[in-house]
Structure formats: structure tokens, C-alpha cells
């Protein structure tokens, strides 16, 4: 029965986000982009996309970092339009999406303060979607207790700090633990919220968030090889959801190399299919025809899940799915730009196609 009333509250915004989805770059457009010889050519081709208003005033030659920043501005503008025109329950759902960016901003500011960077510069580099009022005060904190008592207690992330308070000084290791612990708590909280939203949001978002959790588990495992992070600490960073929770996570917490990771993943049917033909040591694969890396496979799977979200109506998952597809599109554009600027034309087709 909820579907009957969904359009009254959210019909307009669902229409808007589906319009945004239709503006994503298609395969023929990607084909034009990959044939560009220079960054100016690329900028000219992007003039026919939704990024045109944000790129037209950039002086030539445009750098890849500027291109990434302007494309992100386009994404932010569209997302903020949704936020400004939303009411409950969409406003709460969109707010939950911004918590991930808030965590990134908190970590950016703490890390920058540790490295004695200028506060004003750091604030300008924060993600606009993750801004909150007390964020500028983060720069004065030197311990986790200070961080919580001074700043975070009044922020939307306060509830996620419970598991971080055992850390004392803010050093590189503790900051990384804080970052992943916050994100773990956020992912679990977001998952519970989505389940409480009822069907069809619950089923669509549970599949997406379970996959996100599994991917984080694998990435944390792989990136922790050869670092000071102990195996016990590693296991504490895994989100408590996903297909790999709890059995595979217990085993992944003990592994030491990529072969062991692959052996564990192959025991799950959804990941066994994904691992077929994957070269764990491949640098990058993708449509270009080279061997696929595990990361490429994760990107492809994520795109498939987010595209599927648009197959149903009257649910909140389309907003999350659109945002992730847009981010993948920006990743693709910047990848093409990097290949053009580095004269790596043989790798230029190693992006993850969406439509």
C-alpha cells in the first residue's frame, strides 16, 4: 500500500533522479572520449554532457585534478538540488548518504592537522556533501577524547564514535583505525535504517550495502598486507554485515597474501563467478581487453547492482544508486583523461562501462 502514496511524497524527486540517470554517459559517448588525442579534445567532447557548464570556464590546458574537481562539482550540484527539494523520508535517506563524506572530511582534517597543514586550505579541500557546522573546530583536537568532547559530540557522527574512544593519540595508525571504525558503524547504522524503511527499499539497499561491506572487507585485507595493522585490529575494522560476515571475515583476518584471499572468496558462489579469469596481480583490466583485476570486477558488480535498482519504482534506493553510478562515471572520465595525458592509449579502454 505504501507504493500508492510514494508518488505523493517522492514522485517528483524520483523523476528528477531518473532524469539524472538518463544523463549518464553512454557507450558511443565513451567511444568519442577515448578517441581524443589531447585534454582540450576531451573537454570539447564533454561539452555535450551534463558537465559542460562546469568545464566551460576552465582555462586550457585542463589538468586531470581540475577535471575531477569540476565533475565532482556537477555531482554535488545535482545532489544538493535533491536535498533542497526533499522531505521525509527522502531527506533522512539523503542525509544518511552524506555521513560517508562527513567521515572522509573528519579524517582529512585530522590528518592535515597532524601534518601541520594550514586549516583554511584543508577546509576548502573538504567534500561539499560532507560539511557540518562544527567541522572547522576539528583542527584543534589532539587526542580522540578532545575530538569527541570538543567537536563530534554535537555532530551527526557522534553515535559512531563509541567504538573509537579506546584510541588515545592521533597518529597515522589510529587515524586509519578511526576512519574505518567510523565507516563500519555508519554502514551498519545505514543498513538498519534501510531495513526499517520496508520493502522494496529494504531488499534493494540490503543487496547493495552487503556488497559494499564485502568489498570493504576485501580491500581492508589486501591493503593491510605489509603494514603495522595487526590481524586483531584488522578484523575489528570489518563491517558486521555482508555475505562474508562472520565466517569469511574470521578467515580473511588471518590471511597474509592474495592467494589466500582468492581461496576464501572462491568458496562463495557470487564471488567465485566474479573471480573467473581474474588475475590478482593485474594492474588494470576492463573493457580494454587486458586481464581483469579484482578491483575492476568489483566496479563492474557495483555498477550492475546500482543499475538494477532502477528496474523497480517506489523505493529510495534509486537515489543511492544514481550517486554511485555518477561517481563511477567521474572515475571513468578521469581515467580516460589520465591515459590521454600520460600517452597510455593502450589502457584507455580500461574503464567500467555503465550504459
Amino acid at each position: 500500500m505504501k507504493e500508492i502514496y510514494f508518488n505523493a511524497d517522492a514522485g517528483y524527486l524520483e523523476g528528477v533522479v531518473r532524469g539524472y540517470r538518463d544523463g549518464l554517459i553512454t557507450k558511443p559517448q565513451y567511444s568519442n572520449l577515448t578517441q581524443c588525442e589531447t585534454m582540450d579534445d576531451l573537454k570539447l567532447q564533454l561539452a555535450t554532457t551534463d558537465y559542460a557548464p562546469f568545464l566551460q570556464n576552465e582555462p586550457s590546458p585542463i589538468s586531470t585534478s581540475t577535471l575531477s574537481a569540476r565533475c565532482t562539482d556537477a555531482l554535488v550540484a545535482e545532489f544538493q538540488y535533491l536535498q533542497q527539494n526533499s522531505a521525509e523520508p527522502i531527506s533522512k535517506f539523503l542525509e544518511y548518504i552524506t555521513y560517508g563524506y562527513m567521515i572522509d572530511n573528519v579524517v582529512l582534517l585530522i590528518t592535515g592537522t597532524l601534518h601541520e597543514r594550514d586549516t583554511h586550505d584543508l577546509l576548502e579541500k573538504c567534500h561539499p556533501l560532507g560539511f557540518f557546522d562544527t567541522m572547522p573546530a576539528l583542527c584543534v583536537a589532539t587526542t580522540v577524547q578532545d575530538l569527541y568532547n570538543t567537536v563530534m559530540v554535537d555532530s551527526p557522527l557522534a553515535g559512531y564514535f563509541r567504538e573509537c574512544l579506546s584510541a588515545e593519540d592521533l597518529n597515522e595508525l589510529n587515524i586509519e583505525i578511526i576512519r574505518n571504525t567510523l565507516y563500519k558503524a555508519y554502514l551498519e547504522d545505514f543498513y538498519n535504517y534501510c531495513m526499517a524503511c520496508g520493502e522494496p527499499t529494504a531488499s534493494i539497499m540490503s543487496e547493495i550495502l552487503n556488497f559494499e561491506s564485502d568489498r570493504r572487507t576485501v580491500n581492508i585485507t589486501i591493503n593491510s598486507f605489509g603494514t603495522e595493522l595487526s590481524k586483531d585490529d584488522r578484523s575489528k575494522l570489518y563491517p558486521r554485515l555482508g555475505n562474508m560476515y562472520p565466517e569469511a571475515q574470521t578467515r580473511l583476518a588471518r590471511v597474509d597474501d592474495m592467494d589466500q584471499v582468492k581461496a576464501i572468496l572462491e568458496q562463495y558462489s557470487e564471488y567465485k563467478t566474479m573471480l573467473l579469469g581474474v588475475n590478482l596481480n593485474a594492474s588494470s583490466g576492463g573493457v580494454g581487453g587486458n586481464e581483469l583485476s579484482l578491483e575492476d570486477r568489483f566496479f563492474i558488480k557495483e555498477v550492475d547492482l546500482n543499475k538494477e535498482a532502477f528496474e523497480q519504482q517506489f523505493h529510495l534506493g534509486v537515489f543511492y544508486a544514481w550517486l554511485r553510478l555518477k561517481e563511477q562515471e567521474i572515475r571513468n572520465i578521469v581515467w580516460v583523461a589520465e591515459c590521454i595525458s600520460q600517452q597510455q592509449k593502450d589502457k584507455i579502454n580500461n574503464y567500467t562501462p555503465i550504459y
Binding site: 585534478s65 575531477s68 572522509d104 579524517v107 582529512l108 590528518t111 592535515g112 601534518h115 601541520e116 597543514r117 594550514d118 586550505d121 584543508l122 579541500k125 567534500h127 597518529n171 597515522e172 595508525l173 587515524i175 586509519e176 576512519r179 574505518n180 580491500n219 581492508i220 589486501i222 591493503n223 593491510s224 598486507f225 605489509g226 603494514t227 603495522e228 595493522l229 594492474s283 588494470s284 578491483e295 572515475r331 578521469v334 581515467w335 589520465e338 591515459c339 600520460q342 597510455q344 589502457k347
Partner: protein
Amino acid sequence: MSEHRTDRQNIDDFMLELFDNIAEYRSIREESSAALRQAFFDLALAKRSAGYRWISPDLYSANAQAIATVAVCENSCEVVGGIYRRDIREIAGPDGSSSDCSDDAVDSEKDALSKRCSNSQKSKAKKKCKASDNPLLWFGMLVPPKLKEAQGGFAASLDHFIRLAQLKRSMQLKQDAIKQSLEAVDA
């Protein structure tokens, strides 16, 4: 007559050495070009993996110090060798593919040049670095493996650049010597 023969012989010798230097220069240049190209590509892959916001100059430390510098002879402005604040083999990659950074790596020609330099600084600090000295940690503890490979590639290229600078200097000296010898012959 014998003087002319000596001058001509010197010219021949210098020419042969010059050609050897040119061949070595081209070989090292190609090698370092390929290594740098791969390192920049690895950096692009790491940015794609971790996010373009996370691996960017925004996270550089304000107290950044070079992990390696180059010793230059004050008198002759020749590049003598590299001075490493930390063991470069730690960051060269899993196969330890970096070139040896000890004094043994300096060849006889560099030894000869450095001996003529009275104030050369050939100190070497090969101590284990503290974790906070590693620039990789600016981007977090759990960085993508590709970023570590990129760092290794850039670090391993330093020895190539030092050798290229030395060869360029050597070629310049040879060219000057050939010119002088030709002038002596003409005279």
C-alpha cells in the same frame, strides 16, 4: 710528428669514450623513461582505487623532507652520488629491484671525478626510518598496493638520474677535450 700522432690518438680515444658514454646514456635514459612511465601509471591506478581526493597534494605533509638528495662537488659542480636518508631498498619493490645505493655502486670514472673534488660530500645515512618518515603514510595506513609500487618506481629511478647527470658531465668534458686536441692538431 709524434706529437700530432699523440694528439690524433687522443682524439680517437676521446671519440671512442664519447660514443660509449652516448650509448650508455641512451640505454639508461630509455630504462628510466620506461620505469617512470610505469610509476606514473601505477600512481593513476592508485588514485582510481583509493579516490582522487585521497591521493592528492592536499594530503602532503607540511614538514615533508626528501628521502634522498644528491651530493654535488662544490668545485666542479659534478654529481657525485646519492645521499639517502632511508634505505631505498625498503621502498624499491618486492623484488628489491632498486640499484645498490652504497658507495660500491660508483664506477671508476665517478671515483676519478670525485677524487679531483676536494670538498666532495660522500656521507651516507642508511638507517632504518621511523614510520612517520615514510611519505606513503600521508595517505593513510591502508593505501592501495599500486601506490607502494609507484613509490618504489620513483625511488628506484633516482640512481638512473644520478648516472645520467654524471654521463652528461663526462660527455661535455670529452667534447671539450676533443675540441682542444683538434685545435692542437690544426696548430
